[in-house]
């Protein structure tokens, strides 16, 4: 009996396809794949495997291009369009918290800096006003500006921080164009969800060092906090939208990691060890994603 394991393996490959496509074609495709297989075949061939993965990719790209991604991705992208600017502002403020805290009324107000931080919220504000595409254009302009800065003489093309920023901004642009946007995300988040998620978000922010502390806490406390928040955020991964949001967000530390490896410099940024730095980028949005388990009523 060779059909059963082969069928199971084909079904695993079909998991690459959007749920909607699977519900329409999976049984038919399995029938065709098994009919095309050799009688003694137990595993999908390389050519069939690549063809199925390529087919899934084409269908997902077409859904993205025509603005009809499956509901799970649509919700995840909508949440990303809301979370990304919040994270960007948090990162931008964190880098200069010491400087801001040191300012007194004798110092001039850093209007330019504050305007720059506020500008990061312009795309999401446009999205909330129903102007998603104009918001995406604003994001695209920011990417170009960052890229020009990075490519300029003395620019930091291979700075992991810049890579994380750029990827986060690019994801925000895609999320604004390919999803119903932050308005839809707000509808997914209920008051009860926010109340329950707040401790997770606060814990993630603490673990990631987004909230300053006035004393050097022992590293073990930070590590325990990271683990605790990671466990608290795990429920988000059991909803389709939560899983997809985690994939989107994982691209950010992933890109920073790749750049870090490429530079062979050192595995540190934000003055943290690499795991802590990755956690600081991953956990806040992951904790926010936890809201979806409580609130995404139509995330399936």
């Amino acid at each position: 009996m060779t059909a059963a394991p082969l069928e199971q393996r084909y079904r695993r490959l079909l998991a690459c396809y959007p749920a909607e496509h699977r519900s329409t074609y999976a049984e038919e495709m399995i029938g065709v794949l098994l009919a095309s297989a050799r009688s003694d075949q137990r595993r999908p061939g390389v050519a069939d495997t690549l063809d199925l993965i390529g087919g899934a990719g084409r269908i997902r790209l077409r859904a993205l291009a025509t603005g009809t991604p499956d509901p799970g991705w649509r919700d995840a992208l909508a949440l990303t369009s809301l979370i990304a600017p919040v994270l960007l502002v948090a990162l931008a403020l964190k880098q200069n918290l010491g400087w801001l805290a040191g300012l007194t009324w004798h110092n001039p107000v850093p209007y330019l800096y504050l305007a720059g931080v506020a500008a990061l919220l312009v795309p999401v504000a446009l999205g909330l006003l129903g102007l998603r595409r104009i918001g995406a254009l604003a994001v695209a302009a920011t990417v170009v500006w960052f890229a020009v800065q990075a490519a300029a003489p003395g620019g930091q093309v291979l700075d992991p921080r810049l890579a994380a920023y750029l990827v986060l901004i690019a994801i925000q642009a895609v999320a604004l164009v390919a999803s119903p946007g932050p308005r839809h995300a707000l509808r997914l988040i209920t008051r009860k969800g926010i109340v329950i998620a707040l401790p997770w978000i606060a814990g993630a922010a603490y673990a990631g060092g987004l909230i300053p502390t006035s004393y050097p806490e022992p590293q073990i406390v930070a590590r325990v906090a990271i683990v605790a928040v990671a466990i608290a955020g795990l429920p988000a991964l059991i909803t389709p939208a939560g899983r997809r949001l985690a994939v989107l967000i994982a691209v950010i530390p992933g890109s920073a990691f790749v750049v870090t490896v490429l530079t062979f410099a050192h595995v540190q940024f934000y003055d943290m060890s690499l795991p802590a730095a990755l956690a600081s980028l991953c956990l806040p949005p992951l904790a926010l994603a936890s809201v979806t388990i409580l609130a995404a009523r139509r995330a399936g």
């Binding site: 496509h21 074609y25 495709m29 065709v32 794949l33 095309s36 063809d51 199925l52 087919g55 269908i59």
Partner: protein, 111 residues
């Protein structure tokens, strides 16, 4: 409606369906036969194309059957599909005619 040139696998799928409604595996084997085994469609490519053609209204589901407890869905050309295949075949025929006549002239000039 603007017309785009369709790719060879799509052309062959539509040609297979011009013979009458066929199921997925039938289309695969027919496409191999029409192309003299030059084009061998696999399930991923075939169903990405069928999904797109259905969405564009070029083909539609003719009927469904359960054979040996497996779903077998038959597809057919729609009116739009017949028109698209006809236009494409005519275009290819015209191009081929020009190519053949020029090759003949080239051969005549060389001899």
């Amino acid at each position: 409606m603007s017309r785009t040139v369709i790719q060879e696998p799509t052309f062959l799928i539509l040609t297979a369906l011009a013979a009458g409604p066929q199921h997925g595996y039938g289309i695969m084997t027919d496409v191999a036969r029409i192309s003299g085994d030059r084009v061998k469609l696999r399930a991923g490519t075939l169903y990405a194309a069928l999904d797109r053609l259905r969405a564009d209204g070029i083909i539609d589901v003719d009927r469904e059957e359960i054979v040996e407890s497996r779903l077998r869905r038959y597809y057919r050309l729609t009116e739009d599909g017949i028109r698209v295949l006809d236009e494409e075949a005519t275009r290819m025929q015209a191009n081929a005619r020009v190519a053949v006549s020029r090759l003949k002239a080239l051969a005549a000039g060389a001899s």
